[in-house]
Symmetry: C2
Subunit: 156 residues, 2 copies
Amino acid sequence: MTDEELLALARAEARVGLSEGGIPIGAALAHEGRVLGVGHNKRVQLGSAIRHGETDCLENVGRLPASVYAGSTIATTLSPCDMCTGAILLYGIPRVVVGENRTFYGGEDLLRARGVEVVVLDDAECIALMESFIAGNPELWNEDIGEPPDTLDAPR
Amino acid sequence: MTDEELLALARAEARVGLSEGGIPIGAALAHEGRVLGVGHNKRVQLGSAIRHGETDCLENVGRLPASVYAGSTIATTLSPCDMCTGAILLYGIPRVVVGENRTFYGGEDLLRARGVEVVVLDDAECIALMESFIAGNPELWNEDIGEPPDTLDAPR
């Protein structure tokens, strides 16, 4: 399975989230080329503060031994926020495929500093999904990244 | 409400978790002296990879505006792991009360580097809870911090 194929699964999840009225960010976890599970942001759907794309994916996959995480790649449609960055570090996931980091720049520097390989695909569909969503829902988007409602959605 | 009182709520949650057969780590969130909610680790109870004490607390409290997080303190019985450190950073919670960091040293340095006030109470009950739990359940504990089952539970 290529990085692009794994990202396609994450992107499909983002679109599911959008169809549910949610924030369109998705993720997919693969171990040695086999998909373990997928997930998407559920802030709106579950009233959740912790179900981002990546964390929802990890939760859906369930408890895993460290050895499985250590051979895994997680793809996410958007550069991971601080919480999702921390989840990746906690479990020692060694590779992260990022759909795009133009609409939000998360913890990529910390990931790299801690030895995680970060691959940014700069995917046009991911960018379009987020640009459209942010333009239409700036307050919801700012809430999801811990910013005040009136904050400009500048990458941090 | 004092830091000790907020930690007492977190500690009570840790004991609830233990009574459920879970990992005894709890947390409590207060805004300007008023308790917003509590939570505890639910790895065992829910088969969860993301419900640590702090994240479960944030999830139980639910969606909040950034302005509320910005005036809040979170207490946790144990030094926060990378994921929970990231969650605290994501939401801009400015103060963290840590019960103890002897059995596990988490992201305190990163929190401080990002401007978060971290108060460590070195609470004897919190230490005893974790020492006893880790001694009796080393594999479960290692799983919770993303370590292989046979890893010595040395503070990182």
